[in-house]
Symmetry: C2
Subunit: 405 residues, 2 copies
């Protein structure tokens, strides 16, 4: 049986990023850049004032005091028309270009302008070359590579691309993920379950997990434990980039999912991983053809916490890989146990946990948990903690966590 | 001048959560619950098998071995029709109800079923009362309060609400946030800046920040430094819950924003905060009337990093408060400096920084940064680190960070 790391490596090796395509800058949040971006101009594009005040020659203000003749006002968006000579200054706004001759700005709070004489009195503690200015090209030089392919686009990357005039850019696609819950025991959320039945909570949860991962969710409802019906829904799901099935992958006589997937041309990459919860997890793909891209298929165990954990560990890795991220695996952080815990089992356990990072260390407290059907435990958690098999942890023992929020 | 904490307290005190309204479960991701949710049934609703296998009387399998008569098959979604007597078993699927008489499940891998005789041979290491079962009501009891008002809805909360049959729920609204960049120096991202001009990168960045905060962004383009034009755009923005202006709040002659806001009936709560970058930040509101709710207005400084930092610190606190979160302030984590740093200034600095949490501690490395116009520095950062005034930090010194991603 594969270990979690082996299963993750198989996923990364099997899944190929979606094709790159042009995207409007305003639609790009959370996508991954598919090109290297080169600056088309210097940033800032000219020597610039960082303050509202007066542009001066710093040599005119050797001891912080001077009275200077004001020759013009330069607004942001305006252009200086005069060179500042000895004894002169220009009134200047934040973001406006520094006029020739001047090399520093004295902020307005340290000046007194006399309307009648057109002169400004200066009293400042500091006026050296470059004071309150920023020189052209300090942040970025024209021709420099500013962002590289594989970069996830956050507000600061988008702002930087806007500075560079990139109203469109090349990004990897946003994956479409179909969600299909299987099992005759399921009823829609709005209905009252009969004897032996439960509500289809996995669809709701997986749809939210997929959206949180930055992908588009395509919910397909409930598939009954009946071959023809299941086959039809699977075909629908195979039109997406990923198909997540929940339930139907353990060893019961009605677990039709693996055989129906095979019939639909989906080949198995792995079935079962040495992990708790989630051991029966199934992964495979329908290969790409010249007509259509590949579809990656996960059979997630039906118990809600198994489904959630396998969704975060395995399906999310496939989604990250599809979006073009170079490091697709779960983002593991190191914490330390806040209390003792013994895992007597022979499988690694991903246990609902609450992390506290307010003290300089990441303290990890396990949430009370009744096992794979106890979704409520995850509500009190913000992470899953990895408890190694046959391990005895004490307060302060190192423990790896993957955050859920 | 207010400290950052005083300014945040003013925002929390001034801003009221949006009204609660009914929301479809599928549209609720990221919203905040506005009701206490009580379980309408036990979870699980019946004693349930956690495995595919055979339901048995544990007393029949005292030393892990037995041969039992199989009286029926219980599928998930099905209902047992027989009571298990001594010497009997029922084949059972994961999620199916435990039949009367039985008290444990032996998993299928530890059994051998003989089709011809209808008998199952069992060889297991453990078969005690409750083995591989979960008892009705273990996770939740009917009538119990499962989620309380003020809870942010993540995939696990939504899954739990689905289990409870809540196809709709009461949640606080999603804020609408208008974004208006001001200044004659700005040109749209798709245009080439002329002399003295720069591209309107703040709109792109603030729109993405607002979306990342879970709110709806309403970009209003560029307002020129001209009263009538600015007034019209401000009126448009006041139709939203929040109006973010960037630029126009420092001390220059063309900084028309504060006076135009006043003319539009927006009253100042504070102007200027003891912080770097972002000192000129402005906050106020147009009070609610019987006809319309209040609008909260931020004047953010125009330099991109000032705008971003004030957006994350102040505007995001207002957004969190509007969404109904009980703790609306920035989520501060404690880390430690990875290198020495001296802040000689008299203001606290929020410095772009990179955190590393892979080692059990949060190590903080400051990004190289040329000041408030240097947006590119933030691209290499995932957090802002708070450097106190006149402080001398060494490697290992504690330092607070607010994450950006």
């Amino acid at each position: 049986m594969l270990s979690v790391d082996e299963a993750l490596a198989k996923i990364v090796e099997t899944v190929a990023p979606l094709s790159a395509r042009p995207v409007a800058l305003d639609d790009a949040l959370g996508l991954v850049l598919a090109e290297d971006v080169v600056a088309d101009l210097d940033s800032p594009p000219f020597d610039k004032s960082l303050m509202d005040g007066f542009a001066v020659r710093s040599a005119d203000v050797p001891d912080g005091r001077a009275t200077l003749e004001v020759v013009e006002t330069i607004t942001a968006g305006g252009v200086p028309t005069k060179t500042i000579a000895g004894g002169q200054a220009a009134r200047i706004m934040t973001g406006a270009p520094i006029p020739d001759g001047a090399d520093a700005v004295v902020k307005i709070e340290e000046t007194r302008f006399d309307e009648a004489t057109g002169r400004v009195e200066i009293e400042t503690s500091r006026c050296e070359p470059r004071t309150n200015t920023i020189v052209r090209g300090t942040n970025t030089r024209s021709g420099e590579t500013v962002l590289r392919t594989g970069r996830r686009l956050r507000p600061q990357e988008l702002g930087t691309l806007a500075e560079l005039g990139r109203a469109t850019l090349s990004a990897f696609g946003r994956p479409r993920v179909a969600i299909l819950a299987t099992g005759d025991e399921l009823v829609p959320v709005g209905e009252t379950p009969g004897a032996g039945q439960i509500r289809n909570s996995n669809e709701t949860m997986l749809v939210a997990q997929v959206r949180r991962a930055g992908a588009e969710a395509v919910p397909l409802g409930i598939a009954r434990d009946e071959r023809a019906h299941l086959r039809e829904r699977i075909e629908q799901g195979l039109a997406c980039d990923v198909l997540l099935l929940s339930g139907g992958v353990s060893m019961g006589t009605l677990d039709l999912v693996p055989s129906e997937l095979q019939a639909a041309g989906v080949r198995e990459v792995f079935h079962k991983v040495h992990v708790k919860p989630g051991k029966p997890v199934w992964f495979g793909l329908r290969d790409a053809t010249p007509e259509r891209p590949a579809t990656y298929v996960f059979g997630l165990p039906g118990n809600p916490v198994s489904s959630m954990v396998c969704g975060e560990l395995f399906a999310r890795t496939a989604i990250r890989r599809l979006t073009g991220l170079p490091h697709a695996g779960p983002r593991v952080e190191r914490g330390q146990m806040n209390h003792p815990y013994v895992n007597r089992g022979d499988r690694p356990v991903y246990h609902p946990a609450l992390t506290d990072t307010t003290s300089g260390q990441t303290w990890v407290t396990l949430a009370p948990w009744h096992g794979s059907s106890d979704l409520r435990a995850t509500v009190e958690a913000n992470a899953m903690a990895l408890l190694l098999p046959e391990s005895e942890l004490t307060r302060g023992s190192p423990v790896d966590v993957v955050r859920w929020d």
